[in-house]
């Protein structure tokens, strides 16, 4: 029977298939761990006197609560928040006690968990990948089945390298046509979520396909898969191709030599078979998309940047969202005052994102009313950006160039917008209070974010770069 990409990976990882009474036991190839969702899981191991079954399949880093403030004279990143310091110290202890490799704060390979997995070549086609973090869907860009889990499940994977899972449904999203210049992968995924809704993918694993997806670079594909969870999907995936293999070749953890040849042969077979049916299918015409921006308090509330806040549907949720955002139906977003621009997060803080932002900011100044934060996704991204002089572009424009981490995406580490302030952010969630209590977020691409930083209001980057 023809199988979808999802079916193939699922079937290959079944330790025990689903029965009428029990869920499937699914083997996990790679388990990524970070400081916020793991301490209680390690405590469960200690309570039960258990070891980590496969420490070599486990990798930890710290990203969520870590500061992104500049290093001290000693080259270290100071952690001043005692709670964050305790969480960071706990992860260090846990990794030491259980033999788990850790990319610690300040080390060369530290960064946002979903940025470092791919850049180190840990993320590979055909794998099952989990992490106590919903944006684990990012790794699906490589043709892996990757999804977020809760802390109890983190403990399950640490102890058994397996998870209990019921088989999700599959949703095919075909993106036809090509994105126009100035329209990015971020706009594509915001357009998709606006179309299917924030619950539109619930219970499903999305497979993205079609010419507009094939044309994307790996970093762009990661941006798309990253936000699958914002449509409620468990995971998002893209079948691997030459773009994937070229990205992976020579990465520190990618197979080398003969093993590479074998892996490649294997990976090339990872595709949805002709005639395999997904449970649902949606088509979107990428060539009709404009740069997108959100106006509400979930990522599905997005419109083309030159558009208006849509009429209220009369539902309490929409009224509440507009009230919180201080916007009204029919209002144009272009030209709306902003206070902060955040360029960062696992959605848009890889090198290509920073290059795009820099292409707008080069030789320009950030408006006086705007605070611009540029937070690279990893130490490695930071080093590469600095080697190209991007840090200077951001600094000379008047922006802040920070250490790597989640930063203002989740506002756990002190980087936050203030009550009532408006921010254009390249992150993935515009939830109430997400970027700081009372803060109001417009989600957009790095191009839009950079153009808005210059204008001091929401701006269309196509007017600046053309």
């Amino acid at each position: 029977m023809p199988r979808t990409l999802f079916d193939t990976i699922w079937d290959a990882h079944l330790v025990r298939p689903e029965s009428d009474d029990t869920p499937a036991v699914l083997y996990v190839d790679l388990h990524l761990v970070h400081e916020v969702t793991s301490p209680q899981a390690f405590a469960m191991l200690r309570e039960r006197g258990r070891k980590v079954r496969r420490p070599e399949r486990t990798v930890a880093t710290m990203d969520h609560s870590t500061p992104t403030t500049p290093r001290g004279a000693d080259g270290r990143i100071p952690v001043t928040d005692p709670e964050a310091a305790a969480q960071i110290a706990q992860l260090e202890t846990n990794c030491r006690d259980f033999g788990i490799p850790l990319f610690a704060l300040g080390s060369e390979r530290q960064g946002i968990v979903h940025v470092i997995g791919p850049e180190l070549g840990l993320t590979q086609p055909g794998m099952t990948i989990v992490c106590g973090d919903s944006h684990t869907s990012t790794h699906g860009a490589f043709g892996a089945l990757a999804f977020g889990i809760g802390t109890t499940e983190v403990a399950h994977v640490l102890m058994t390298q397996c998870l209990l899972q019921t088989r999700p449904s599959t949703l095919l999203i075909r993106a036809e046509g090509r994105l126009h210049p100035g329209v990015t992968a971020k706009d594509l995924i915001l357009g998709i979520i606006a179309k299917i809704g924030v619950g539109g993918g619930t219970g499903h694993v999305i497979e993205y396909a079609g010419p507009a997806i094939r044309a994307l670079s790996m970093e762009e594909r990661m941006t798309v898969c990253n936000m699958s969870i914002e449509a409620g999907a468990r995971a998002g995936m893209i079948a691997p191709d030459d773009t994937t293999f070229e990205y992976l070749a020579g990465r520190p953890h990618a197979p080398q030599g003969k093993a590479w040849e074998r892996a490649l042969a294997d990976w090339k077979s990872l595709a949805t078979d002709d005639g395999a049916a997904h449970d649902r299918a949606v088509t979107i015409d990428a060539s009709r998309l404009e740069p997108m921006i959100t106006y509400g308090t979930n990522p599905g509330m997005a419109v083309p940047i030159r558009g208006e806040v849509p009429p209220s549907d009369g539902e309490a949720s929409m009224e509440r969202a507009l009230g919180y955002m201080g916007l009204h139906p029919g209002q144009r977003l272009l030209g709306h005052r902003i206070d902060v621009v955040f360029i960062g997060s696992c959605t848009n803080a890889r090198l290509s994102d920073l290059r795009q932002a820099a292409s707008v900011l080069r030789g320009r100044k950030v408006a006086a009313n705007v605070r611009l934060l540029v937070v690279p996704g990893s130490q490695s991204v930071k080093q590469q950006a600095e080697a190209e002089g991007l840090d200077r572009v951001f600094r000379e424009a008047g922006g802040e160039w920070r250490e790597a981490g989640c930063s203002m995406c989740i506002a756990m580490n002190g980087d936050q917008i203030l009550p009532g302030q408006y921010a254009v952010s390249t992150s993935n969630r515009n939830f109430e209070g997400r970027q700081g209590k009372g803060g109001r977020t417009f989600l957009a691409s790095p191009l839009t974010a950079a153009a808005s930083a210059v204008a001091g209001t929401i701006a269309d980057a196509r007017e600046l770069v053309e």
Partner: protein
């Protein structure tokens, strides 16, 4: 162990309540689970000065005894933080009723003894309407949830069945930990690892 829950309920009928609303990220800098109930819905529940907003539903006196929360569609969307069900459980909730739940949140609830009960929109509207009646009209409405029969019944006798997978239901009914089952799979896991070419 959960068999039936009979309790008054309170309603928060807003769609797409995300996990950042259930518990904001600034309260996740903990290494334990205890006491998170005080941060439940923190941004909606407390005023700027930290004092409780008396009108917010879980601050009202009737919420103290309520074990069931009725919330809007797509409840628990957003992050995988298990702190969300920990906070709900610590506050005292044993079930959440909605028209749908986000997948990771739903999973996390089942692992923490909170029943995610999905009902049809009409049934949901009925529950919300019953709670919306002026307080003077009588005591807060009650609900009974029977996990054995997978039914949810209202005081007026109407009832509905709700979906729940057999395995978590069995575990919850018998007070078993899903982990024990997983740990029993050791042989199959080893066999898989041999098949797949080892670790």
């Amino acid at each position: 162990m959960i068999r039936t829950i009979t309790s008054t309920y309170v309603v928060l009928p807003i769609d797409n309540i995300d996990t950042d609303i259930i518990i904001p990220a600034r309260f996740l800098k903990v290494t334990g689970k205890a006491g998170l109930g005080r941060h439940l819905f923190a941004n909606w529940r407390y005023a700027e000065d930290g004092s409780p907003r008396p009108e917010f539903v879980i601050n009202r006196p009737e919420a103290a005894a309520a074990r069931v929360l009725v919330a809007g569609d797509n409840f628990g969307c957003g992050s995988s933080r298990e702190h969300a069900p920990w906070a709900l459980a610590d506050f005292g909730f044993r079930a959440v009723v909605s028209t749908s739940f986000a997948s990771i949140f739903r999973n996390n609830c089942l692992k923490n003894g909170i029943l995610p009960i999905a009902v049809e929109p009409a049934f949901h509207r009925k529950m919300v309407a019953a709670a919306g009646a002026p307080a003077a009209a009588g005591p807060p409405p009650t609900v009974t949830i029977d996990l054995e029969t997978r039914t949810i019944s209202l005081a007026d006798g109407t009832s509905a069945t709700f979906p729940i997978e057999p395995f978590p239901r069995y575990c919850l009914l018998n007070g078993l930990d899903e982990l024990s089952f997983l740990l029993q799979q050791e042989e199959a896991i080893e066999a898989y690892e041999r098949r797949a070419g080892g670790g």
